[in-house]
Every structure is written in structure tokens, then in C-alpha cells.
């Protein structure tokens, strides 16, 4: 991975309920406004329809799954086809199960109330995103420290044994 760490945010974008619309829009907000240079995403169905590169997504990037309902399709599909996610949550935990499972909504009819839901979910994504990033750097520092220790054979040389 390059020095510039990017975090994968994968939303379910579910078409069957409002939670899917909110998960999609909040993820787009990360990509467009909040962390555009550090966020990457992938179309979930590409895990099956795409190739090895797409299936390697969760190996290549620490990944946060954002699901619209408690079926947790984004998390489960990512882990089934690509790799373990670093974190995951279901938007119904923030906007309520009833709202999340209500009828799907076209972005043509978004109200201020829906926009507030998007902002709330985007805020949660940002918090979890920052935790993942922080963990990534801690782990990277630990690995460097360990590799430094491993190359110290005790005789004061730099032979790496």
C-alpha cells in the first residue's frame, strides 16, 4: 500500500428500502465532501461480476461497510467475496428501524428530514473512518517497530538475522 492510505467505504445502496438510499447518499458525501482524497468505494455487485482486482478490494483497503438494514448485505457480501471488513454498521441503528425499512425513496423527493438522516449517517461514517485510520497507523508503527527488533541479532550488527 502506498504512503497515502485510503479507506474503503462500501454501502449496500439497497433499492428496497429507505435505509439503502441513506447509506448510499452518506457514502457519497464521504467521497464528495468529507474525505474525498482518502475515501474509495466499490460497487458491491462487482465482487461477483468483476475480476480478481475487484475481489481484492478489502485486502487492498481497510474497509467500512455501511448497511441500510439489519440484513447487513454490504458487510456479509464483502466478507464472503473479498475480505474481512475493519468495521461495519447498519443505518437503522441511527435513524430507527421503522424509517430504515420504509419505502425506498428517489433522490428527487428528498426532504430536509431525509437530508438530516444523511448527515447523521455521514457523521458516523466519518467517526468510524477516523478510528480505522488511527488503528491503521498504530498497526503500521507496531509493524515497523517489530521489524526493527527482528533485525537485531544482538551482536550490534545490521545483518537482519
Amino acid at each position: 500500500m502506498s504512503d497515502e492510505v485510503k479507506i474503503g467505504v462500501v454501502s449496500c445502496s439497497g433499492e428496497d428500502c429507505l435505509g439503502g438510499t441513506i447509506s448510499r447518499l452518506a457514502t457519497r458525501k464521504m467521497l464528495d465532501e468529507i474525505r474525498p482524497d482518502e475515501t474509495v468505494t466499490i460497487c458491491l455487485p462487482l465482487f461477483l461480476a468483476g475480476g480478481a482486482e475487484e475481489r481484492g478490494f478489502a485486502e487492498a483497503y481497510p474497509t467500512l461497510a455501511v448497511d441500510g438494514c439489519d440484513k447487513l448485505c454490504a458487510k456479509r457480501a464483502t466478507e464472503k467475496y473479498s475480505g474481512k471488513v475493519s468495521d461495519a454498521f447498519d443505518v437503522s441503528s441511527l435513524i430507527g428501524k421503522e424509517a430504515a425499512e420504509s419505502k425506498p425513496l428517489s433522490t428527487r423527493y428528498l426532504t430536509e428530514e431525509h437530508q438530516e438522516m444523511v448527515n447523521k449517517v455521514a457523521k458516523e461514517i466519518r467517526i468510524r473512518f477516523e478510528n480505522i485510520l488511527s488503528d491503521y497507523y498504530k498497526n503500521a508503527a507496531q509493524r515497523i517497530k517489530e521489524s526493527g527488533n527482528a533485525s537485531n541479532c544482538g551482536c550490534g550488527c545490521t545483518c537482519g538475522k
Binding site: 445502496s13 433499492e15 428500502c17 439503502g20 464528495d32 466499490i42 461477483l48 440484513k71 464472503k80
Partner: protein, 136 residues
């Protein structure tokens, strides 16, 4: 016994990266919510991707219309893998070909021009839903 609805399944890719995915998603929502709610319904593509038995049961053997944003045809491929019968696979890129230079918006929000493309695609899908309904 299967409890599968007889409605035609209209399934978009909802691609995250480009405006094409949003056009597919919005057209599908318009068909199932406004143009033919009695004859068509959608199923979350993400649910189909999980491979859950319950998700497969929803589309196995059912007539499906898929709406894909790009030539990777994720919706069509995933629906077929789950046992759905893809009667027609629409590609948003083909709709765009008839509107060179159009500025439809992005993967987050559509412009007025983008909504016109949604309406055009939704009308085509609606015709197909009604035809499939006649076939029974």
C-alpha cells in the same frame, strides 16, 4: 411452496462510482413506485449478491429486467447467477449514446438533463413490464 410474487422484477445496479449507476437506480425506482407499482417490484441487488437462499427464492425463475450503468453488467450477471431470468438487460450507456454532450450530473445528484434520461429509460422499462405482464 414458493411464495414468490408474480410481479416483474426490475433490478438496477445502483453503481456508486458514476452517474450511470444513479440513472439506473432512479429509473428502476420510478418504474416500481410510480409507473407500474401493480406489475413491477424491485429486489435489493446487494441482497442477491449475498447468495442467501431467501434472496435467491425471490428471483429464481422470475422474469427480470436489469438496468446497468456500465458495460460490466453487474445487475444482469448477478441476477442470472441467482437464477433470475433476464428478459432484457438495459444499459444506461446506450441511453447516453442518443444524447451526446448531455450533462446529467454525477453519482450523487442529477441535473434536469439527468432526470430526462431517467424518464426516458423508465418509459422504456415500463413498456417492457407491461408486455411481460401480458405474456403472463
Amino acid at each position: 411452496m414458493s411464495s414468490m410474487s408474480k410481479k416483474v422484477k426490475v433490478i438496477p445496479c445502483s453503481g456508486m462510482g458514476k452517474v450511470h449507476g444513479l440513472v439506473a437506480r432512479e429509473a428502476a425506482l420510478k418504474v416500481v413506485s410510480e409507473l407500474c407499482p401493480a406489475d413491477a417490484e424491485t429486489v435489493c441487488l446487494a441482497y442477491i449478491v449475498t447468495g442467501d437462499d431467501e434472496a435467491k427464492e425471490k428471483i429464481e425463475g422470475a422474469p427480470c429486467l436489469t438496468l446497468d450503468g456500465c458495460p460490466k453488467m453487474c445487475a444482469a450477471k448477478n441476477v442470472e447467477l441467482a437464477g433470475g431470468i433476464v428478459k432484457k438487460g438495459y444499459r444506461v450507456v446506450d441511453i447516453f449514446k442518443g444524447h451526446r454532450g448531455v450533462k446529467p450530473g454525477n453519482a450523487t445528484a442529477l441535473t434536469e438533463e439527468g432526470w430526462l434520461l431517467v424518464d426516458e429509460l423508465a418509459d422504456k422499462v415500463k413498456e417492457n413490464v407491461l408486455e411481460l405482464g401480458k405474456e403472463g
